[in-house]
């Protein structure tokens, strides 16, 4: 550990110097230069495979500056790559009547930050007046930011991971006072970088308080600790929603699952796994929980070669929980693919809007708890004959239309495809697809069947009354 720590410290110093040099030499004019962070608290939750960061920023606008309509957040390039979601709220009102107003966050196109850092801007609902103080709560989640080290472990080893971040808050603003807390799942912590003052209490490490940090300061830290939570990563998730106006919404979800933690190496011994579960294969997982909507019916769980017989469904009036077990326990680097399908009553999801259009209201994201989805696709297959579809999703997604064919389709069904990368549990929010549909199309398929049967009988009658012989014998 010693050499890696020393290199970490030296690189830290270098970076610090570099950051300071850059901030001094070329501090470009910023529109919101006037804002100062009075106090900042950064709480990093490392208990699950997804890194969750809660930031509390107390901001003050300069007395002489103009009104500020946005607040900037800075992220390093690696963080931007793994950033799944950023949410911000602003506390409004005094003590007792304090309410949190959600604010919209978008990637800023200001290329003003040094070292390739990217800025995100929080748009304030009411501009920050000169000398006004406000508090912002920011939440963001990072995926794939825990690096297993050692990268390969045997069946009996626990899983150790690295987490890299900065002790001080990376911010385009002057930070007057700041603390960082890092919370880990257990107190089995191998090592952590010390940037005084640094203290550790049980499973929590505290950095700070640091005073008077210049804009864009960065002090790299490295935490090495044990994390045996299931690193379930869904590499590809495709959900197909088929709407039938005869009363059913059929959902089919395809998963390509991977254990994203440290690679399993060497022997897999079933004997060890069965007889010593507490020390053997701790980072592996063998079941997952999917939270499905209530009143779900005809649930199935299968893969390319057939049903997987190990799953349990518990449902009550609020939710249904499907506990699924892959065919084999997943160790680091192991893959498995499967499909879950279920039906839902149409009246719970399909509504009519004020302008006469219909819309289906569904939940975005993947129903598996505590998983990262690298690549998510949602296909909403509208009934045959529906027109002018329009999807309303509260965040940015790639959208396009295609046509799919199913039972007895002639012209095909309009399908709305939504795609998003890097999806976490916080994305499980409702979204809507609006479309126009004439109920007369519902009768098309039954009429086709009826006419087919009718024609068959007509053909039989005609055959019985025909004489096909050439000559009279």
């Amino acid at each position: 550990m010693a050499p890696s720590l020393s290199t970490a410290v030296s690189s830290l110093l270098l970076l610090l110097l570099l950051a300071a040099a850059i901030s001094v030499s070329s501090s470009p004019p910023m529109p919101e230069d006037s804002i100062r962070v009075i106090s900042a608290e950064k709480r990093i939750d490392l208990t699950s495979p997804i890194v969750k960061v809660f930031l509390t920023l107390k901001l003050e606008n300069d007395a002489t500056a103009p009104e500020a309509s946005q607040v900037l957040l800075a992220f390093t390039p690696t963080e931007v790559e793994h950033l799944a979601i950023v949410k911000a709220t602003r506390a409004e009102g005094k003590r007792k009547k304090k309410i949190y107003v959600p604010l919209s966050v978008k990637a800023s196109d200001l290329a003003a930050a040094p070292n390739g850092a990217r800025l995100y801007s929080i748009l304030l609902s009411t501009p920050l007046k000169p000398a006004e103080v406000t508090t912002l709560e920011v939440f963001y989640a990072l995926t794939h930011s825990l690096e297993p080290f050692p990268a390969e472990i045997t069946q009996s080893d626990p899983q150790l991971v690295y987490y890299r971040d900065s002790a001080v808050l990376l911010s385009p603003y002057h930070v007057l006072e700041q603390v960082t807390y890092i919370k880990m799942p257990s107190n089995r912590v191998e090592s952590f970088t010390r940037v005084d003052p640094t203290s550790r209490a049980g499973n929590e490490v505290k950095y700070g308080a640091y005073n008077n940090q210049l804009p864009n300061s960065y002090v790299p830290i490295l935490v090495h600790y044990e994390n045996n939570r299931p690193f379930a990563v869904v590499e590809e998730f495709v959900r197909k929603v088929e709407i039938s106006h005869w009363g059913n919404v059929q959902i089919t979800e395809q998963y390509k699952l991977k254990h994203g933690g440290a690679q399993h190496k060497g022997v897999f011994s079933r004997l060890e796994y069965q007889s010593r579960p507490s020390i053997s294969g701790v980072p592996s997982f063998k079941n997952l929980l999917a939270r499905l909507p209530p009143r779900v019916h005809s649930v199935y769980y299968r893969d390319e070669i057939g049903n997987i017989s190990s799953s349990h469904l518990r449902s009550d009036s609020h939710k249904s929980e499907l506990e699924i077990e892959p065919r084999y326990p997943l160790f680091g680097g192991w893959h498995c693919t499967f499909t879950i399908g279920y039906g839902l009553p149409l009246q719970d999801f399909l509504f009519e809007s004020d302008d006469g259009r219909r819309y289906i209201n569904l939940t975005f994201g993947c129903p598996l708890l505590d998983t990262v989805v690298d690549d998510l696709t949602i296909k909403v297959v509208l009934p045959e004959g529906s027109t002018s579809p329009q999807a309303v999703v509260p965040f940015l997604t790639e959208q396009y239309l295609e046509t799919s064919y199913s039972y007895l389709d002639v012209v095909g069904r309009t399908t709305v495809v939504l795609k998003k990368r890097n999806v976490v549990g916080e994305h499980n929010v409702p979204f809507q697809v609006y479309y126009e549909f004439n109920p007369i199309f519902m009768l098309a398929e039954p009429l086709m069947l009826i006419s087919a049967v009718f024609l068959f009988f007509v053909a039989c009658i005609a055959y019985l009354h025909m004489d096909l012989s050439i000559g009279k014998s």
């Binding site: 011994s269 079933r270 004997l271 070669i305």
Partner: protein
């Protein structure tokens, strides 16, 4: 009749809706047939309801894989497919070594359903192909029964074959095997041929040739047709039943059938060159000679002259024929009979000469119990049916008698050929059942003196005359009723038995094992798929898997990995090499595995669950097959006083061979049953003899949750220092 009188009182327009007797009979017949059709399909769905819609057993997985390939890549590529994933490093010319009928049928059905815009998966089509064709077989059985006896017998035959366990065993949903469509094709060919013989029509003969072509494309069992037809013709010739109709039927069927059959790559020129097909050709020439002689006899019109002519011609023909056959065989132009064919004629042949055929359980001679199990009352009705057939001999009944007798013989030789006998047994039994019941009902009806109820067709003048004579016998009506009730009781027992057998014995997919748990609930052992899916997901895509050949098809289909040997046992030496590796010490086996680029070794082990058809129980066959090619492997080395054991008293070679080590690796530390020492094998019922197994060249890669499948990784060779 009450209904009829009620109808009479109806107004005139409605009265015209009343059916005539003939129409009533037709309606009854069609609805009975429709019900039988549905029943034949539905009774085969037990496996889907009990388990799931999946492909069963071993060979069907190959068929499924090839069907997928066919529907994905098209026929041309399928026909020229060279499969690198099996028989590594040899590969297999799949297009030229399979019967494509089944795959083409399923792919066409799938395409048809798609064209009707029914979005079904090809797997569902494959799973339901066998039940669909079984249902079609009932229609053919009806037509066949009508052809040889009457429509009543046809209906009974259709009903019997719909649920006959001997046939169901190979045609439940999911058993996607050649036999599924082949029995339909077989019966269709026979029916069309009998029809052609009865009518002498060229159209029926050609139809029969096309039926034969379908059969050839579907199953190797077509050899049975191509030998039974000439035998039948020969019997007709000998019994003096030669006719122009026979001449037309046989010649056109044979010539066209032969040409069509040669289009199948797997058959090709074998059809004119191999010993199995010679009988058909011989009879073809014989018929020409016969026809020629007949003609000459007609021309000469002189008995004495004809006799000398006959003598000369016959001598010439026999000499030429024997010479041709002799030269052909000697020069190798006509290939000798294959081992499989020999083993049919001589049941002990395979046991002595071809262990690979003898090792398959379905190639064993049939036990009486399985005859009873598969045929039930048909076993008693069959001789009765033969009696009826002999009583009313015709070209058609002679055919069915011959079909029944020969197929019964083959069914006795090999368990799996019960399937071929099933249609014949059903037809002949149907004749017995139908004729008996008809006689009994005629008796009852003539007694009750209501002649208008007897429908015109069923009361033959013979039966009526018989009834008149029999009126003198006492208690005749009562006895007839009792016998009738007995017959119905038997038939209902048959129905009950068939349903029970289907649901209990023949609907298990054998991939998924089910057992009863302690509390009476059903426990599922899904270990095979667990292991195959693990292979599919977590090994390099070019990994080579070595296992005993039984699992080859499943590994390639479900695991999507290359195997060394599989169920297409075309190369005995390759299989023997694997057998040798399994029965050698680890270091010797390692060399063999290195030479075959093996990455993983898969063994099936039932010691934990008590699953008895595992590799330890199959091991002696590996030794025998391996020893058949490599004399280093000697069976006695693995036995102690001729006894096969795995406990402490086992032979030292047994305790240290690769198969033993892989099956029992770390098994000695596991307690399988309460009150038994650790390492207690629940299949063999003994404590294993070698509990301290160390592996040097392999390491455990995966073991399924019930230990049924164990996969080992072959370590790369050590660096040379």
């Amino acid at each position: 009749m009450a209904a009829a009188t009620a109808l009479d009182s109806l107004p005139a327009p409605l009265r015209s809706l009343r059916l005539k007797t003939k129409q009533q009979e037709l309606l009854l017949r069609v609805s009975a047939l429709a019900l039988i059709y549905v029943l034949a399909f539905v009774v085969r769905l037990f496996s889907v309801l009990r388990y799931e819609s999946m492909i069963h057993e071993f060979d069907p997985y190959f068929n499924y894989r090839t069907t997928l390939f066919l529907s994905d890549h098209g026929f041309s590529e399928f026909w020229n497919w060279f499969d690198f994933e099996s028989w590594y490093p040899l590969g297999r010319v799949v297009g030229g070594t399979l019967f494509p009928g089944l795959m083409v049928t399923a792919a066409l059905l799938h395409r048809l359903l798609r064209a009707l815009s029914l979005a079904v998966h090809i797997r569902e089509v494959c799973v339901l192909t066998a039940p669909f064709f079984a249902a079609n077989t009932t229609l053919v059985a009806y037509a066949f029964g009508r052809e040889i006896w009457d429509s009543g017998a046809g209906l009974v035959a259709a009903a019997l074959i719909a649920v006959c366990p001997g046939y169901i065993s190979r045609s439940v949903a999911g058993s996607y095997d050649n036999e599924g469509v082949a029995i339909f094709a077989l019966l269709l060919t026979f029916y069309l041929f009998v029809r052609a013989v009865n009518t002498g029509s060229l159209a029926w003969s050609l139809a029969s040739a096309f039926g034969y072509f379908y059969m050839v494309s579907a199953w190797g069992g077509y050899v049975f047709i191509i030998n039974l037809l000439p035998l039948y013709v020969l019997v007709l010739l000998v019994t003096g039943r030669y006719s122009q109709r026979l001449y037309v039927a046989y010649n056109s069927t044979y010539v066209l059938g032969m040409l069509l059959a040669m289009q199948i790559r797997f058959v090709g020129f074998q059809h004119v060159q191999s010993g199995e097909h010679m009988a058909a050709m011989g009879v073809f020439f014989l018929l020409q000679v016969f026809f020629f002689l007949d003609w000459v006899k007609y021309l000469l019109n002189d008995a004495k002259l004809f006799k000398s002519f006959l003598r000369i011609t016959l001598t010439c023909v026999i000499t030429v024929g024997t010479l041709a056959l002799g030269i052909g065989t000697a020069s190798g132009y006509i290939s000798p009979w294959t081992g499989r064919f020999y083993s049919l004629l001589d049941p002990t042949y395979a046991k002595d000469h071809i262990p690979i055929i003898a090792s398959v359980s379905e190639h064993q001679p049939t036990a009486w119990s399985s005859f009873m199990f598969d045929f039930h009352i048909l076993l008693f009705l069959f001789p009765a049916g033969l009696y009826f057939c002999f009583k009313r001999l015709s070209d058609a009944t002679i055919f069915i008698v011959m079909y029944g007798l020969t197929s019964m013989y083959f069914a006795g030789v090999m368990v799996r050929l019960i399937l071929v006998a099933a249609p014949a047994v059903c037809l002949i039994s149907a004749i017995a059942a139908s004729a008996t019941i008809k006689n009994l009902t005629t008796l009852i009806r003539t007694k009750s003196k209501s002649p208008q109820t007897v429908s015109g067709k069923s009361s033959g003048s013979k039966a009526a005359a018989k009834g008149a004579v029999d009126q003198s016998l006492p208690f005749q009506q009562n006895v007839a009723i009792a016998l009738l009730l007995g017959a119905f009781y038997l038939l209902s027992r048959y129905a009950v038995h068939c349903t029970w057998v289907t649901s209990e014995a023949y609907s298990s997919p054998s991939i998924v094992l089910a057992a009863r748990g302690h509390n009476g609930g059903r426990v599922i052992f899904d270990d095979y798929r667990e292991a195959y899916y693990w292979l599919r997901q977590n090994t390099p895509s070019d990994a080579k898997i070595m296992s005993w050949w039984d699992y080859g098809y499943q590994i390639t289909a479900m695991g999507n990995r290359t195997v060394i040997v599989d169920n297409n046992t075309w190369n005995n030496t390759h299989i023997a090499t694997v057998g040798r590796a399994m029965s050698s010490y680890e270091d010797e086996a390692y060399e063999i595995m290195q030479s075959l680029d093996v990455n993983y070794v898969l063994v099936v082990f039932g010691g934990v669950t008590g699953y008895s058809s595992d590799d330890i129980n199959k091991f002696l066959w590996m030794v025998r097959i391996g020893g058949g090619v490599f004399p280093v492997i000697k069976e006695p080395d693995y036995l102690v006083n001729g006894e096969y054991r795995v406990d402490k008293g086992a032979a030292p070679k047994m305790l240290n061979c690769l198969m033993y080590k892989l099956c029992y690796y770390r098994f000695g530390e596991l307690t399988t049953e309460y009150g038994k020492p650790p390492g207690y094998d629940r299949v063999r019922g003994v404590e294993i003899g070698n509990k301290d197994i160390k592996l040097e060249y392999l390491e455990e890669a995966f073991t399924t949750s019930n230990w049924i499948v164990r996969i080992y990784k072959v370590k790369p060779p050590k660096n040379r220092s």
